[in-house]
């Protein structure tokens, strides 16, 4: 019963707060560019409007194009269950990090297929770039989890979060290295600077936007919302795994509320971090991105060597 209750809260958190996180990031970026920026609630309005718009689908589209938004959005709900929001939860069959990484890959797989499906030149190139980046980022992502997994002697995300919150000071350096490479992968997987420009349309270098160019109406809303959720999921993973403070509040509604407040603050911190990083970095040339992702991978290897030699 408590399990179902906690899952419901996590799903509501992810789906409900992810547009707000995007709004905050956009607002901070706008302010750093001396603009007024949009209202914080604008992403919600966008989604609501898109959901009530009529839809145009290409005549070239097959069932993959039509089915992908539902699948991709469904995956983010599935991932929401696997988040280390409540680290006290100890249920062995939920929250394996390989599962999380591969479910993310499943979403990328279908998004790339949908990009190819409509037969436009943009979509194909978007998919090609996305799969290139994804195939390079996956190694870094799995390994930044693995650093913690080897230290915690478990690949379960909840167990890892529990471990990191009580880790001794010797583990600090490897954990920081893993956190740096996790942030690199976060930027790559969510098509943010320096990998991709999230606010562009019709730029020849776009990645994510190129794939979803043909979507409209409710399916566009689903895809956009799923992208918001994905960023929130990454932020929550980072918050749970690398900033696991304040987990030790007592049970009961009051403790939970305090905990949720702290959790929101951590998410906010990561949102600010992403916004500042995006505002201070220039977009990289596409063929320089692998250097960045290999750096992430090598940082992880270093961190693991450190942990093994401890």
């Amino acid at each position: 019963m408590t399990l179902a209750f906690i899952w419901t809260i996590q799903i509501i958190l992810v789906l409900g707060l992810s547009p707000l996180l995007i709004g905050i990031i956009k607002k901070i970026k706008a302010r750093l560019q001396s603009r007024q920026g949009i209202n914080l609630l604008q992403p919600y309005r966008d989604l609501w409007k898109l959901l009530h718009k009529d839809e145009v689908i290409s005549t070239d589209a097959s069932w993959i194009f039509k089915f992908s938004p539902y699948l991709i959005f469904g995956l983010t709900i599935f991932l929401a269950i696997n988040l280390p929001v409540f680290a006290r939860l100890n249920f062995p069959y939920v929250g394996d990090f390989l599962l999380v990484a591969y479910v993310l890959a499943l979403g990328t797989f279908f998004l790339a297929l949908a990009g190819l499906d409509i037969g436009s030149a943009f979509g194909g190139f978007g998919s090609s770039r996305e799969m290139t980046l994804a195939s390079l980022a996956e190694g870094g992502l799995i390994f930044s989890f693995l650093v913690l997994a080897i230290a915690a002697k478990s690949t379960n995300i909840y167990a890892i979060a529990g471990f990191v919150s009580q880790a001794s000071v010797f583990y600090l350096l490897p954990i920081i290295l893993a956190a740096i490479s996790f942030v690199m992968c976060l930027l790559a997987e969510n098509s943010r600077y320096p990998f991709d420009n999230p606010s562009t349309h019709l730029e020849l270098t776009m990645v994510h936007e190129a794939m979803i160019l043909e979507y409209s109406g409710k399916r566009l809303a689903l895809i956009e919302w799923a992208a918001y959720n994905k960023l929130f999921i990454f932020a929550a993973l980072a918050a749970g795994l690398f900033l696991p403070f304040g987990l030790s509040f007592g049970a009961g509604i009051f403790g939970m509320l305090i905990y949720l407040a702290i959790f929101s603050l951590k998410i906010l911190f990561i949102g600010v971090l992403v916004a500042v990083l995006e505002s201070t970095l220039a977009k990289f040339r596409f063929f320089r991105l692998p250097d960045l992702l290999f750096t992430a991978f090598i940082l992880n290897i270093l961190a693991i060597v450190l942990i093994i030699s401890l």
């Binding site: 469904g74 390079l136 693991i304």
Partner: protein
Amino acid sequence: MAISALPPFNGFFSEWLCFQSLFSGANLGGSLGLTFLLSAGFLAFTSALAAACFVKAFGVSFLARTRSHEAEHAKEAGPAMLSGMGILALLTLVFGVFAGSISGLLAKTSLGLSSLAGSELESVFNFNNLQTPQNFSAVSAPAVFSGLLLAIGVVAAVIYFITRKNKVTANRTWDCGHDIRQGMEITATGFARSIIVIFRGLLKPTKQTSIEYHDDEMRYFPKRQSIDVGRDDVYQHFFYIPLKRVSYWLSEMAKKIQNGNVNLYILYIFATLIILLLITVR
């Protein structure tokens, strides 16, 4: 999807077990542990490259517009042909969902091998769930499958309910006001090109362009342009071809002493006998 190791198909659970064994190897520590770790790293990279490969293969062959006239008139094969492939496809899903029980059965056969006797294999598989020793990690195949299915189903139902009044129209794909033609789609070569460029040190791609002009003096109006992109097989280039050269060279040497003259062969036998005799006498 199964071959790209995506859940909930069988490939994912095989890969999961593979990762687990590599991780437990990495826990050994020392240079041995590092070797396991590096192999796990390669596995992580290759699995994602496999996904990229099958997006390419499936997307280019089955999706979007047709490139040739023959493909435009392609018809679906008969039910007998479809069912053959369908059964195999279904099996990948069944093996995925019941990964725990099936790998438990397989484990029994491998326990018969003397080298694995007494290992902890059996503790890994209980009914339908995969779990490694000392609670290192666990995953439940049916839960993954039903969870994914449920999530997608709920989304589809809710969205259908909200948007049941919206209209859906079919129209042409937008492409900057041009007429979209088959040639504009990305090709398999183009799709893989960026990966090849990234790994160009390893894959050694070749590129040859040739242009034919209307007027060779004034090189402004090309008549025909062609580009030839090639990639050598790394294994062929660095392994099989040198191997072939060495074996050719050896057989050339053998040809010199083995020229078909019977008298010469008798000489060889005689020489061998004398050498053997000398060795045994001494």
